[in-house]
Symmetry: C2
Subunit: 194 residues, 2 copies
Amino acid sequence: MVRWEPGARERLQAAALDLYASKGFEETTVVEIAQSVDLTERTFFRHFVDKREVIFAGQDVFQQGFIDGVADAPHGASPLEIVTSAVLAGSGFFTEDRRTHSRQRSAVITATPELRERELLKMASLAAAIAGALRERGVPDPAATLAAESGTTVFRMAFERWLEPDSKRTLIELEREMFAELAALTGSTARSDQ
Amino acid sequence: MVRWEPGARERLQAAALDLYASKGFEETTVVEIAQSVDLTERTFFRHFVDKREVIFAGQDVFQQGFIDGVADAPHGASPLEIVTSAVLAGSGFFTEDRRTHSRQRSAVITATPELRERELLKMASLAAAIAGALRERGVPDPAATLAAESGTTVFRMAFERWLEPDSKRTLIELEREMFAELAALTGSTARSDQ
Protein backbone atom coordinates (compact mmCIF):
# COMPACT_ATOMS: atom_id res chain seq x y z
CA MET A 1 0.00 0.00 0.00
CA VAL A 2 2.78 2.46 0.93
CA ARG A 3 5.60 1.08 -1.19
CA TRP A 4 8.10 3.85 -0.55
CA GLU A 5 8.33 2.94 3.16
CA PRO A 6 8.71 -0.80 3.34
CA GLY A 7 7.66 -2.31 6.66
CA ALA A 8 6.51 1.05 8.06
CA ARG A 9 3.31 -0.42 9.41
CA GLU A 10 5.05 -3.23 11.27
CA ARG A 11 7.77 -0.92 12.61
CA LEU A 12 5.13 1.51 13.89
CA GLN A 13 3.24 -1.30 15.55
CA ALA A 14 6.28 -2.71 17.31
CA ALA A 15 7.42 0.76 18.41
CA ALA A 16 3.95 1.67 19.71
CA LEU A 17 3.69 -1.50 21.75
CA ASP A 18 7.15 -0.93 23.27
CA LEU A 19 6.24 2.62 24.25
CA TYR A 20 2.79 1.67 25.60
CA ALA A 21 4.47 -1.01 27.71
CA SER A 22 7.25 1.20 29.06
CA LYS A 23 5.54 4.62 29.39
CA GLY A 24 1.87 3.68 29.48
CA PHE A 25 -0.75 3.99 26.74
CA GLU A 26 -2.16 7.36 27.84
CA GLU A 27 1.27 8.94 28.17
CA THR A 28 2.52 7.94 24.71
CA THR A 29 2.01 10.34 21.79
CA VAL A 30 1.76 9.50 18.11
CA VAL A 31 4.75 11.79 17.43
CA GLU A 32 6.88 9.75 19.84
CA ILE A 33 5.87 6.49 18.20
CA ALA A 34 6.69 7.78 14.73
CA GLN A 35 9.98 9.42 15.72
CA SER A 36 11.23 6.35 17.53
CA VAL A 37 11.37 4.57 14.17
CA ASP A 38 12.38 7.61 12.11
CA LEU A 39 8.97 8.11 10.55
CA THR A 40 6.57 11.06 10.59
CA GLU A 41 3.26 11.55 12.34
CA ARG A 42 1.70 11.73 8.88
CA THR A 43 2.97 8.28 8.04
CA PHE A 44 1.46 6.97 11.27
CA PHE A 45 -1.95 8.31 10.30
CA ARG A 46 -1.64 6.81 6.84
CA HIS A 47 -1.62 3.41 8.55
CA PHE A 48 -3.73 3.86 11.68
CA VAL A 49 -6.74 5.97 12.63
CA ASP A 50 -5.46 6.54 16.17
CA LYS A 51 -3.29 5.16 18.99
CA ARG A 52 -5.87 2.55 19.91
CA GLU A 53 -6.11 1.19 16.38
CA VAL A 54 -2.46 0.05 16.53
CA ILE A 55 -3.45 -2.45 19.20
CA PHE A 56 -6.55 -3.69 17.40
CA ALA A 57 -5.43 -3.64 13.78
CA GLY A 58 -5.92 -6.90 11.94
CA GLN A 59 -9.21 -7.84 13.55
CA ASP A 60 -10.67 -8.78 10.15
CA VAL A 61 -7.93 -11.32 9.48
CA PHE A 62 -8.20 -12.65 13.04
CA GLN A 63 -11.98 -13.04 12.77
CA GLN A 64 -11.86 -14.55 9.30
CA GLY A 65 -9.84 -17.49 10.61
CA PHE A 66 -12.75 -18.46 12.86
CA ILE A 67 -15.32 -17.98 10.10
CA ASP A 68 -13.29 -20.21 7.75
CA GLY A 69 -13.31 -22.84 10.51
CA VAL A 70 -17.11 -22.77 10.56
CA ALA A 71 -17.21 -23.39 6.82
CA ASP A 72 -14.63 -26.20 7.06
CA ALA A 73 -16.49 -28.27 9.67
CA PRO A 74 -17.85 -31.49 8.15
CA HIS A 75 -21.47 -31.84 7.08
CA GLY A 76 -23.62 -33.11 9.94
CA ALA A 77 -21.37 -31.68 12.66
CA SER A 78 -23.18 -30.50 15.80
CA PRO A 79 -23.21 -26.75 16.64
CA LEU A 80 -20.50 -27.23 19.26
CA GLU A 81 -18.39 -29.32 16.89
CA ILE A 82 -18.64 -26.55 14.30
CA VAL A 83 -17.58 -24.00 16.90
CA THR A 84 -14.67 -26.20 17.97
CA SER A 85 -13.56 -26.24 14.35
CA ALA A 86 -13.90 -22.43 14.28
CA VAL A 87 -11.84 -21.89 17.43
CA LEU A 88 -9.06 -24.26 16.38
CA ALA A 89 -8.91 -22.66 12.92
CA GLY A 90 -8.91 -19.14 14.35
CA SER A 91 -6.00 -20.03 16.57
CA GLY A 92 -3.77 -20.74 13.58
CA PHE A 93 -3.20 -16.98 13.74
CA PHE A 94 -1.31 -17.38 17.04
CA THR A 95 1.86 -19.20 16.12
CA GLU A 96 4.66 -19.69 18.65
CA ASP A 97 6.61 -16.70 17.32
CA ARG A 98 3.65 -14.45 18.14
CA ARG A 99 3.52 -15.45 21.80
CA THR A 100 5.92 -12.77 23.10
CA HIS A 101 4.16 -10.06 21.11
CA SER A 102 0.77 -11.27 22.36
CA ARG A 103 1.99 -11.23 25.98
CA GLN A 104 3.17 -7.65 25.63
CA ARG A 105 -0.07 -6.58 23.94
CA SER A 106 -2.15 -8.24 26.63
CA ALA A 107 -0.20 -6.52 29.44
CA VAL A 108 -0.83 -3.13 27.82
CA ILE A 109 -4.56 -3.86 27.49
CA THR A 110 -4.85 -5.07 31.09
CA ALA A 111 -3.20 -1.86 32.33
CA THR A 112 -5.54 0.46 30.36
CA PRO A 113 -9.32 0.51 31.13
CA GLU A 114 -10.16 2.08 27.76
CA LEU A 115 -8.37 -0.76 25.96
CA ARG A 116 -9.97 -3.40 28.18
CA GLU A 117 -13.43 -2.17 27.12
CA ARG A 118 -12.33 -2.21 23.48
CA GLU A 119 -11.01 -5.77 23.82
CA LEU A 120 -14.34 -6.90 25.27
CA LEU A 121 -16.05 -5.35 22.24
CA LYS A 122 -13.69 -7.25 19.96
CA MET A 123 -14.62 -10.53 21.65
CA ALA A 124 -18.34 -9.70 21.48
CA SER A 125 -17.93 -8.95 17.79
CA LEU A 126 -16.13 -12.27 17.27
CA ALA A 127 -18.95 -14.17 19.00
CA ALA A 128 -21.54 -12.36 16.87
CA ALA A 129 -19.62 -13.17 13.66
CA ILE A 130 -19.35 -16.87 14.55
CA ALA A 131 -23.05 -16.98 15.47
CA GLY A 132 -23.87 -15.42 12.09
CA ALA A 133 -21.77 -18.02 10.28
CA LEU A 134 -23.53 -20.80 12.22
CA ARG A 135 -26.94 -19.45 11.25
CA GLU A 136 -25.81 -19.38 7.62
CA ARG A 137 -25.01 -23.09 8.00
CA GLY A 138 -28.60 -23.62 9.15
CA VAL A 139 -28.06 -23.77 12.93
CA PRO A 140 -31.07 -22.06 14.53
CA ASP A 141 -30.98 -19.68 17.48
CA PRO A 142 -30.53 -19.86 20.43
CA ALA A 143 -28.17 -22.80 19.72
CA ALA A 144 -26.12 -20.73 17.25
CA THR A 145 -25.55 -17.83 19.64
CA LEU A 146 -25.03 -20.07 22.65
CA ALA A 147 -22.47 -22.21 20.82
CA ALA A 148 -20.67 -19.15 19.47
CA GLU A 149 -20.54 -17.51 22.92
CA SER A 150 -19.30 -20.73 24.52
CA GLY A 151 -16.61 -21.12 21.87
CA THR A 152 -15.49 -17.52 22.38
CA THR A 153 -15.28 -18.11 26.14
CA VAL A 154 -13.17 -21.22 25.56
CA PHE A 155 -10.90 -19.28 23.21
CA ARG A 156 -10.51 -16.40 25.66
CA MET A 157 -9.73 -18.67 28.62
CA ALA A 158 -7.28 -20.84 26.66
CA PHE A 159 -5.64 -17.72 25.29
CA GLU A 160 -5.09 -16.33 28.82
CA ARG A 161 -3.39 -19.55 29.79
CA TRP A 162 -1.29 -19.49 26.65
CA LEU A 163 -0.01 -16.06 27.67
CA GLU A 164 0.99 -17.11 31.20
CA PRO A 165 4.74 -16.46 31.73
CA ASP A 166 5.73 -20.13 32.15
CA SER A 167 3.27 -21.60 29.63
CA LYS A 168 4.92 -23.93 27.10
CA ARG A 169 1.83 -25.63 25.66
CA THR A 170 0.30 -24.69 22.33
CA LEU A 171 -2.89 -22.69 22.15
CA ILE A 172 -4.65 -25.55 20.38
CA GLU A 173 -3.79 -28.03 23.17
CA LEU A 174 -5.14 -25.59 25.73
CA GLU A 175 -8.33 -25.10 23.72
CA ARG A 176 -9.00 -28.81 23.38
CA GLU A 177 -8.59 -29.16 27.12
CA MET A 178 -10.98 -26.26 27.74
CA PHE A 179 -13.64 -27.72 25.42
CA ALA A 180 -13.39 -30.97 27.39
CA GLU A 181 -13.86 -28.99 30.62
CA LEU A 182 -16.95 -27.37 29.11
CA ALA A 183 -18.42 -30.75 28.16
CA ALA A 184 -17.71 -32.10 31.66
CA LEU A 185 -19.29 -29.04 33.26
CA THR A 186 -22.60 -29.28 31.48
CA GLY A 187 -22.57 -33.02 30.93
CA SER A 188 -22.57 -33.85 34.63
CA THR A 189 -25.51 -31.56 35.31
CA ALA A 190 -27.46 -32.95 32.39
CA ARG A 191 -26.99 -36.40 33.86
CA SER A 192 -28.02 -35.44 37.39
CA ASP A 193 -31.22 -33.93 35.99
CA GLN A 194 -32.31 -37.20 34.39
CA MET B 1 -29.32 9.95 52.02
CA VAL B 2 -30.67 13.30 50.73
CA ARG B 3 -33.78 13.58 52.90
CA TRP B 4 -34.78 17.09 51.88
CA GLU B 5 -35.47 15.96 48.28
CA PRO B 6 -37.47 12.78 48.55
CA GLY B 7 -37.24 10.60 45.45
CA ALA B 8 -34.77 12.92 43.72
CA ARG B 9 -32.54 10.04 42.66
CA GLU B 10 -35.40 8.08 41.10
CA ARG B 11 -36.83 11.16 39.40
CA LEU B 12 -33.43 12.03 37.93
CA GLN B 13 -32.99 8.48 36.69
CA ALA B 14 -36.38 8.36 35.00
CA ALA B 15 -35.90 11.82 33.47
CA ALA B 16 -32.42 10.95 32.19
CA LEU B 17 -33.63 7.76 30.55
CA ASP B 18 -36.51 9.60 28.86
CA LEU B 19 -34.15 12.24 27.49
CA TYR B 20 -31.51 9.71 26.39
CA ALA B 21 -34.24 7.81 24.55
CA SER B 22 -35.78 10.84 22.85
CA LYS B 23 -32.75 13.09 22.19
CA GLY B 24 -29.88 10.64 22.32
CA PHE B 25 -27.32 10.10 25.10
CA GLU B 26 -24.61 12.34 23.64
CA GLU B 27 -27.01 15.21 23.02
CA THR B 28 -28.49 15.30 26.52
CA THR B 29 -26.91 17.56 29.15
CA VAL B 30 -26.98 17.16 32.91
CA VAL B 31 -28.65 20.59 33.22
CA GLU B 32 -31.50 19.41 30.99
CA ILE B 33 -31.99 16.27 33.03
CA ALA B 34 -32.10 18.19 36.31
CA GLN B 35 -34.34 20.98 35.01
CA SER B 36 -36.85 18.56 33.51
CA VAL B 37 -37.70 17.43 37.07
CA ASP B 38 -37.22 20.84 38.74
CA LEU B 39 -33.91 19.99 40.33
CA THR B 40 -30.47 21.55 40.02
CA GLU B 41 -27.30 20.33 38.34
CA ARG B 42 -25.75 20.23 41.82
CA THR B 43 -28.40 17.81 43.02
CA PHE B 44 -27.67 15.59 40.01
CA PHE B 45 -24.00 15.40 40.93
CA ARG B 46 -24.88 14.61 44.54
CA HIS B 47 -26.43 11.39 43.24
CA PHE B 48 -24.40 10.49 40.14
CA VAL B 49 -20.79 10.93 39.06
CA ASP B 50 -21.76 11.57 35.44
CA LYS B 51 -24.36 10.96 32.73
CA ARG B 52 -23.22 7.39 32.21
CA GLU B 53 -23.52 6.52 35.87
CA VAL B 54 -27.30 7.08 35.74
CA ILE B 55 -27.57 4.08 33.44
CA PHE B 56 -25.27 1.83 35.46
CA ALA B 57 -26.19 2.81 39.03
CA GLY B 58 -27.12 -0.08 41.27
CA GLN B 59 -24.62 -2.57 39.87
CA ASP B 60 -23.63 -3.64 43.41
CA VAL B 61 -27.19 -4.61 44.29
CA PHE B 62 -27.64 -6.34 40.92
CA GLN B 63 -24.41 -8.33 41.35
CA GLN B 64 -25.08 -9.19 44.98
CA GLY B 65 -28.22 -11.08 43.98
CA PHE B 66 -26.11 -13.50 41.92
CA ILE B 67 -23.51 -13.87 44.69
CA ASP B 68 -26.26 -14.68 47.23
CA GLY B 69 -27.49 -17.34 44.81
CA VAL B 70 -24.05 -18.98 44.84
CA ALA B 71 -24.13 -19.13 48.65
CA ASP B 72 -27.69 -20.50 48.67
CA ALA B 73 -27.01 -23.48 46.38
CA PRO B 74 -27.17 -26.77 48.31
CA HIS B 75 -24.06 -28.55 49.52
CA GLY B 76 -22.78 -30.98 46.88
CA ALA B 77 -24.24 -29.04 43.96
CA SER B 78 -22.16 -29.16 40.75
CA PRO B 79 -20.50 -25.95 39.48
CA LEU B 80 -23.22 -25.50 36.86
CA GLU B 81 -25.98 -26.15 39.40
CA ILE B 82 -24.45 -23.47 41.64
CA VAL B 83 -24.33 -21.06 38.72
CA THR B 84 -27.94 -21.86 37.84
CA SER B 85 -28.87 -20.95 41.41
CA ALA B 86 -26.88 -17.72 41.03
CA VAL B 87 -28.57 -16.70 37.79
CA LEU B 88 -32.08 -17.45 39.03
CA ALA B 89 -31.42 -15.55 42.28
CA GLY B 90 -29.89 -12.59 40.43
CA SER B 91 -32.97 -12.37 38.24
CA GLY B 92 -35.19 -11.66 41.24
CA PHE B 93 -34.07 -8.08 40.60
CA PHE B 94 -36.01 -8.01 37.31
CA THR B 95 -39.64 -8.11 38.32
CA GLU B 96 -42.42 -7.63 35.81
CA ASP B 97 -42.82 -3.94 36.69
CA ARG B 98 -39.19 -3.32 35.70
CA ARG B 99 -39.61 -4.73 32.19
CA THR B 100 -40.62 -1.45 30.51
CA HIS B 101 -37.80 0.43 32.21
CA SER B 102 -35.32 -2.29 31.23
CA ARG B 103 -36.47 -2.16 27.60
CA GLN B 104 -35.95 1.59 27.46
CA ARG B 105 -32.53 1.33 29.14
CA SER B 106 -31.47 -1.39 26.72
CA ALA B 107 -32.52 0.66 23.68
CA VAL B 108 -30.41 3.59 24.88
CA ILE B 109 -27.39 1.35 25.41
CA THR B 110 -27.75 -0.29 22.01
CA ALA B 111 -27.84 3.13 20.34
CA THR B 112 -24.68 4.42 22.09
CA PRO B 113 -21.30 2.70 21.44
CA GLU B 114 -19.76 4.13 24.62
CA LEU B 115 -22.57 2.62 26.70
CA ARG B 116 -22.36 -0.69 24.85
CA GLU B 117 -18.70 -1.02 25.85
CA ARG B 118 -19.59 -0.13 29.44
CA GLU B 119 -22.36 -2.75 29.48
CA LEU B 120 -19.91 -5.40 28.29
CA LEU B 121 -17.61 -4.41 31.15
CA LYS B 122 -20.51 -4.78 33.57
CA MET B 123 -21.17 -8.32 32.31
CA ALA B 124 -17.46 -9.20 32.49
CA SER B 125 -17.39 -7.91 36.05
CA LEU B 126 -20.46 -10.01 36.91
CA ALA B 127 -18.82 -13.15 35.50
CA ALA B 128 -15.64 -12.43 37.49
CA ALA B 129 -17.64 -11.92 40.69
CA ILE B 130 -19.53 -15.19 40.24
CA ALA B 131 -16.29 -17.05 39.45
CA GLY B 132 -14.77 -15.61 42.64
CA ALA B 133 -17.76 -16.79 44.70
CA LEU B 134 -17.47 -20.26 43.15
CA ARG B 135 -13.77 -20.46 44.06
CA GLU B 136 -14.66 -19.46 47.62
CA ARG B 137 -17.03 -22.44 47.65
CA GLY B 138 -14.08 -24.63 46.68
CA VAL B 139 -14.74 -24.99 42.93
CA PRO B 140 -11.31 -24.98 41.23
CA ASP B 141 -10.43 -23.20 38.02
CA PRO B 142 -10.98 -23.51 35.09
CA ALA B 143 -14.37 -24.98 36.08
CA ALA B 144 -15.23 -21.93 38.23
CA THR B 145 -14.53 -19.39 35.49
CA LEU B 146 -16.07 -21.52 32.76
CA ALA B 147 -19.26 -22.07 34.76
CA ALA B 148 -19.49 -18.39 35.67
CA GLU B 149 -18.97 -17.31 32.05
CA SER B 150 -21.55 -19.81 30.82
CA GLY B 151 -24.05 -18.64 33.43
CA THR B 152 -23.49 -15.02 32.45
CA THR B 153 -24.04 -15.89 28.78
CA VAL B 154 -27.30 -17.67 29.66
CA PHE B 155 -28.40 -14.66 31.70
CA ARG B 156 -27.55 -12.23 28.90
CA MET B 157 -29.33 -14.25 26.23
CA ALA B 158 -32.43 -14.87 28.36
CA PHE B 159 -32.49 -11.20 29.29
CA GLU B 160 -32.45 -10.15 25.61
CA ARG B 161 -35.43 -12.40 24.98
CA TRP B 162 -37.20 -11.02 28.03
CA LEU B 163 -36.86 -7.54 26.55
CA GLU B 164 -38.31 -8.44 23.16
CA PRO B 165 -41.39 -6.29 22.42
CA ASP B 166 -43.90 -9.15 22.43
CA SER B 167 -42.31 -11.25 25.17
CA LYS B 168 -44.75 -12.28 27.90
CA ARG B 169 -42.69 -14.99 29.64
CA THR B 170 -40.82 -14.42 32.89
CA LEU B 171 -37.06 -14.03 32.93
CA ILE B 172 -36.70 -17.14 35.08
CA GLU B 173 -38.64 -19.30 32.59
CA LEU B 174 -36.42 -18.04 29.78
CA GLU B 175 -33.29 -18.76 31.82
CA ARG B 176 -34.32 -22.32 32.63
CA GLU B 177 -34.94 -22.90 28.94
CA MET B 178 -31.53 -21.44 28.05
CA PHE B 179 -29.72 -23.64 30.61
CA ALA B 180 -31.45 -26.65 29.04
CA GLU B 181 -30.23 -25.49 25.61
CA LEU B 182 -26.69 -25.22 27.00
CA ALA B 183 -26.85 -28.76 28.39
CA ALA B 184 -28.17 -30.07 25.06
CA LEU B 185 -25.45 -28.24 23.16
CA THR B 186 -22.51 -29.67 25.04
CA GLY B 187 -24.14 -32.96 26.03
CA SER B 188 -24.52 -34.12 22.44
CA THR B 189 -20.87 -33.43 21.64
CA ALA B 190 -19.64 -35.18 24.75
CA ARG B 191 -21.58 -38.23 23.67
CA SER B 192 -20.30 -38.24 20.10
CA ASP B 193 -16.71 -38.08 21.43
CA GLN B 194 -17.08 -41.30 23.40
